[in-house]
């Protein structure tokens, strides 16, 4: 199966997956700690509206995804800050409307839209080099943000009200965080697709939470777990395809591996805890 590494397309897919794991680990940690998984799901589906518009208007679908994702992030973030309570309904609306717009736009687009499915379920095996550069730049930016703003971000995610009273620029930081979530979501669409982004943002971080306390250590572990799942998913789907001709998309494979790992982690943690307390 290591023969896969001889192919350039596979090397690129692996590099892309590992770069995406970094963004996913950092942002996913915030998403899990702030309990805003539904926002990330909403942003992914909002981005799909931009993908459809890209087809219709003839610009790169991913640029549309980025624009729709960012605008939705700012909108949801502003509403969240203003109302200071759950935004279930609004998020569900953004989620569904984004999806509906994407489908309507794409159906109106001239010609065939063959790779619409690949946006829904991911298609990491054929990434353009621009994607690699974009993801690498996002990783660098995320690392810079975490390096410079770790404490204030931690405070805002943990306790918005106290942070505001203490003088932390809560609104700016929260919108920055949501904006970065939107960009990460768009990057992950390539890896696992719109529908499964929410899983790749939450499962590795949730596994990390089983074993470490502290956002910083969670980010490292979530990145590692995400990287392992993406790598294993790539090899498995390539292997199945090359050996027995079974073509299973990589994205769902990655998510199923991550979910299995989560189950295993839960059980092991449960047993470990059980032994500690007599």
């Amino acid at each position: 199966m290591t023969g896969a590494l001889e192919y350039e397309f596979f090397q690129r897919a692996l590099a892309a997956g590992l770069l995406a794991a970094v963004a996913s680990g950092i942002v996913g940690t915030f998403v899990v700690a702030r309990r805003m998984a539904s926002i990330s799901g909403g942003l992914a589906h909002a981005a799909f509206g931009g993908i459809g518009l890209g087809y219709l208007a003839g610009f790169p679908p991913m640029a549309g995804a980025l624009a729709f994702g960012l605008l939705s992030a700012l909108g949801i973030g502003a509403a969240e800050l203003k109302m200071r309570q759950g935004l279930d309904t609004l998020i569900a609306m953004v989620w569904a409307v984004g999806m509906a717009l994407g489908i309507v736009f794409a159906s109106l687009a001239p010609g065939a839209t063959p790779d619409l499915l690949s946006y829904l379920f991911g298609n990491i095996l054929f990434v353009p080099s621009a994607y690699l550069w974009f993801t690498a730049a996002l990783d660098v930016f995320l690392l810079l943000v975490v390096w410079r703003l770790y404490r204030p971000l931690q405070a805002v995610v943990f306790d918005e009200e106290f942070s505001w009273v203490a003088g932390v620029p809560v609104a700016t930081l929260f919108l920055l965080l949501l904006g970065l979530t939107a960009v990460t979501v768009v990057v992950l669409i390539r890896v696992v697709g719109v529908i499964l982004v929410i899983a790749l943002l939450t499962i590795p971080a949730a596994i990390a939470r089983h074993w470490v306390g502290g956002l910083d250590r969670m980010m490292f572990l979530a990145t590692a777990v995400g990287g392992v799942c993406i790598t294993a998913g790539l090899f498995a789907s390539y292997g199945l395809s090359a050996s027995i001709g079974l073509d299973i998309p990589t994205g769902p494979f990655i998510i199923l591996l991550a979910a299995g790992l989560y189950g295993l982690s839960s059980v092991v943690r449960y047993l470990a805890r059980g032994r500690q307390t007599p």
């Binding site: 700690a33 009200e161 106290f162 009273v165 203490a166 003088g167």
Partner: protein
């Protein structure tokens, strides 16, 4: 003493049509240790949030050290209800307390911030729990951590929301004893529905049930309580070192 730490004039606030505060006047001076009691949904948390600037009043003015709350951020140490915290949040005690050092324009190294946070933890006697996850703490310990976080910001006034709600009485008492010590060097305002314990430690008591009844005294008259709760409340004041109620005429043994 020229500008009081907190000055509210004619403050009203409503959630939709339901009034939470009606024409509240309140002046808190340096050195005050005020307990505000009142029934649930009587506007206690709303009042705190208006002083903090988290809510803006529909009518009336709020001044904190002579300025609007949004311009005096960092001067108030806020201790929220610990019960609303997500105990599963991945953060340890020291990092939680360090949040108090994040105020506007405070330039200090990471070591200095940690040092200040450890000092604050020592003040609440939790120095040896610095590395614990907050999820591992008891209610009373978490309450003290949140007080330490507020103290770390070197506030000039401390505002506490239900500091002993659902803490057992023994721990509740130790939290109040800590506040009593702190009241020597800080103004303190706390809100609670816990009449008995609150009135034992604070210097003055006010009653809040949409309207505020406050006479800058420690004595809680039956009239105040009745106004606040809307019905006579049987206050058991026996055995307290200070009576908070005037002696009844004919009290059953």
């Amino acid at each position: 003493m020229s500008t009081p730490p907190v000055l509210l004039e004619g403050v009203s606030y409503a959630y939709g049509r339901a009034p939470a505060l009606d024409s509240v006047d309140l002046r808190i001076d340096e050195g005050d240790f005020l307990g505000i009691i009142g029934p649930n949904a009587g506007g206690k948390t709303t009042l705190l949030k208006i002083i903090l600037g988290l809510l803006s009043p529909d009518r009336g003015t709020v001044q904190v050290f002579g300025r609007p709350p949004s311009e005096s951020r960092g001067l108030i140490g806020y201790v929220p209800q610990y019960a609303r915290f997500d105990a599963a949040f991945p953060i340890d005690v020291l990092d939680t307390v360090r949040m108090g050092r994040l105020g506007l324009g405070r330039q200090e190294s990471a070591d200095e911030a940690s040092e200040a946070a450890r000092d604050a933890l020592d003040q609440v006697d939790l120095g040896d729990l610095a590395d614990e996850q907050i999820g591992q703490l008891s209610g009373g310990q978490l309450q003290r951590v949140l007080i330490a976080r507020a103290l770390a910001s070197e506030p000039r006034i401390l505002l506490l929301d239900e500091p002993t709600a659902s803490v057992d009485t023994r721990i509740g008492r130790s939290v109040y004893e800590l506040l009593e010590q702190l009241s020597d060097r800080l103004s303190i305002v706390l809100v609670s529905h816990d009449i008995g314990v609150i009135s034992r430690y604070v210097k003055t008591v006010a009653c809040l049930n949409v309207q505020l009844h406050y006479h800058h005294s420690r004595e809680l008259t039956e009239e105040m309580v009745e106004l606040a709760y809307g019905c006579p409340v049987d206050l058991v004041a026996h055995g307290h070192p200070h009576r908070v109620l005037p002696a009844h005429g004919a009290e059953p043994a």
